[in-house]
């Protein structure tokens, strides 16, 4: 059994319903449902539910307060290598793009870590491009050993690994896994990932399960907004998250709603996703899965991020740079994966949260 089986059952269903008529009464019932069904989740994502965003927001806020309190966890991404063997048309690290390629040495990782840790952040997300040759698991492990001295929680966002490889990194001190499917639609996925190891849809789809089975404490999934109909993609993200929650009750399952940003290369996305759409996606996910961790990154501009705080998100990145070695420019920084929109410092983000009556949580785990 894998989420793939559930995906196949869903193939071809509900999509037309999502964009057309769902009776207002069905949406209203879904908003207040104690344990919404997938059908009710679809109703919350439907075009018709856009007229109910305010009531959805009230419900989502109450649920988030109950389960997470007035707190937002902060983390920061750390790009250690941008070498990549893939040709994802929407990504700046695309192997076909002629950009500065860089991989940090452990000493350079330490410099970046010292800088990031000096801001007070204790949760770090380590990112690489997808190149087993240039950033093998042994290299990631080496970097993790350096980072252990600076951070109390280390997550990875790297190419999909085998379960044993996840286990090996957990032993080194990794406790969280982020891996986005990018797009759940298998045919579109094949078109967007024509060459390279990433073309293996199923190996990527099952990665969150392998990570959970290996003992990750938290697993984050998501799809890249702008590649396909967002309603369908969020619906499948929600089903995936629910599947993981049910199957791995001791793992903290999270989701993100990354929206496509400008990057190196020409692809600008097939589908426009508006701020209203982002808000509806967050509210629907929160009501469907009250305990789901929800992150929003610096891909979004500061004003939108600020407004999303009380609506259901639980995690934000801060002080981000998407280029390798960007904080200390040790030996020159590599090209960025995408352009960030919120360039505020960690201190500024913390001040904003406090201003809004939210406690920035910098540390929420430790190696034990």
């Amino acid at each position: 059994m894998s989420f793939y089986d559930i995906l196949r059952e869903q193939a071809g269903s509900r999509w037309s319903e999502l964009s057309s008529g769902v009776p207002a009464a069905a949406v209203e019932k879904a908003v207040l449902a104690e344990d919404p069904s997938p059908g009710q989740f679809a109703a919350l994502l439907s075009a018709g539910a856009e007229a109910h965003l305010e009531t959805m927001a009230i419900r989502a806020q109450a649920l988030t307060l109950k389960h997470f309190g007035r707190t937002i966890q902060l983390y920061t991404p750390l790009y250690i290598s941008n070498y990549c063997d893939n040709e994802c048309v929407y990504c700046g690290f695309n192997v076909a793009n002629i950009i500065d390629r860089k991989r940090l040495s452990p000493a350079e990782v330490e410099k970046e870590a010292a800088f990031l840790a000096s801001t007070g952040l204790r949760h770090v997300l380590v990112l690489t491009g997808e190149s087993r040759e240039m950033s093998p698991v042994s290299y990631i492990a080496e970097c993790v050993r350096v980072l252990r001295g600076y951070f109390s929680s280390i997550s990875i966002e790297v190419y999909p690994l085998a379960k044993e490889e996840y286990s090996a990194l957990i032993k080194e001190g990794v406790d969280g896994l982020t891996i986005y499917q990018e797009v759940y639609d298998e045919a579109l996925y094949a078109r967007l990932h024509g060459r390279g190891p990433k073309s293996d849809y199923r190996f990527r789809l099952d990665a969150p399960e392998r990570g959970a089975r290996a003992g990750m404490r938290s697993v984050n999934i998501g799809s890249l907004f702008g590649l396909d109909d967002w309603r369908k993609e969020v619906f499948l993200t929600g089903l995936h998250a629910r599947y993981l929650q049910n199957r791995f009750p001791d793992v903290d399952i999270g989701a993100a709603i990354p929206r496509m940003r400008p990057h190196e290369g020409l692809f600008t996305g097939a589908v426009t996703v508006t701020d209203t759409n982002i808000v509806q996606a967050i509210l629907a996910l929160r009501i469907f899965l009250p305990r789901l961790s929800l992150s929003v990154s610096t891909r979004e501009r500061s004003s939108l991020r600020d407004n999303l705080v009380p609506l259901g998100i639980t995690r934000m990145s801060a002080g981000s740079m998407t280029c390798v070695g960007g904080h200390t420019a040790a030996g020159g920084a590599g090209a960025p994966q995408f352009e960030i929109s919120d360039e505020r410092s960690v201190a500024d983000i913390m001040a904003m949260l406090k201003e809004k009556g939210y406690q920035p949580v910098l540390k929420d785990w430790m190696r034990i």
Binding site: K66, R70, R217, V251, I368
Partner: protein, 261 residues
């Protein structure tokens, strides 16, 4: 004589224990602790950052409070034990609230692993207060394992549903000879009062205080409700079922008759 609760050699007057998660800020939390005059607070070790340069939650706990670290995040006995040892190594008290949770959806505790952790830590000299699902057999095992109190849940953490498990907790109150402290799920001061009225030794509240519009006001309300419930219990609340006796025994005449004979 002051009515005190004795745990781990400490005498506690205020029977409202407070959890420190979910507050909008540390200063807001401190005001709530001060306003309620709470004497026991629980802090998740996972949230404590003693490294220099950042705010430390412990600096916002009023002096004199007993800080009871908890093992939030532990998924099994082994992790709970390791977190407890880290807590002790970081210089806090010997008190530890054990939370072993393998279920992130309802945050219901794993009683079996909790018993294992309690046994190990009590032997190591910790004052162990285990969070548990109210179950008499498990509570007895916790007593045998050396727990200083048992902390059954009123309803799932953060649910604010009140004392849904009352029947089961009442059994613990009757049968278990160590303090029974209701932890989790209490949504309103009246819920806390109810627990005290039927004989619980204390209650622990977090969410209902932390996410109230005025946490300090709500903390005081809970504190007063706990005191009122306790006084009602000690004063022989008829429905409490324990400690109550009619001022003139209703069947006293039978004994009078026997005397006459």
């Amino acid at each position: 004589m002051t009515d005190t609760l004795e745990i781990g050699g400490r005498k506690i007057v205020n029977r409202l224990f407070i959890g420190t998660g979910k507050f909008a800020s540390y200063p807001v939390m401190r005001r709530a602790l001060e306003e309620s005059r709470a004497e026991v607070v629980t802090v998740a070790l996972r949230r404590v950052d003693s490294s220099s340069g950042t705010e430390n939650i412990l600096d916002y706990v009023p002096k004199g409070c007993i800080v009871m670290p908890n093992t939030s995040g532990a998924r099994n006995a082994d992790e709970a034990v390791r977190i407890a040892r880290l807590a002790r190594a970081s210089g806090s008290t010997e008190w530890i609230k054990i939370e072993v949770i393998q279920d992130n959806k309802y945050l219901l505790p794993d009683n079996l692993e909790t018993v294992k952790a309690t046994e190990i830590l009590a032997k190591e000299g910790f004052v162990v207060l285990p969070y548990m699902s109210p179950d008499l057999s498990m509570a007895r095992r916790l007593v045998d394992a050396g727990a200083a109190a048992v902390m059954p849940l009123g309803s799932p953490i953060g649910s604010n549903r009140g004392v849904k498990t009352r029947e089961l907790i009442e059994i613990l109150v009757r049968e278990i000879k160590i303090p029974v402290i209701v932890d989790a799920g209490l949504g309103a001061p009246s819920d806390a009062c109810e627990c005290m009225q039927f004989g619980c030794s204390a209650v622990l509240v977090n969410t209902a205080i932390a996410i109230a519009e005025d946490p300090a006001g709500m903390a005081k309300a809970f504190s007063d409700a706990v005191a009122a419930g306790r006084l009602a219990y000690r004063s022989g609340l008829p429905s409490a079922g324990t400690g109550a006796s009619a001022s003139s025994p209703l069947t006293g005449f039978l004994h009078e008759d026997s005397h006459r004979q």
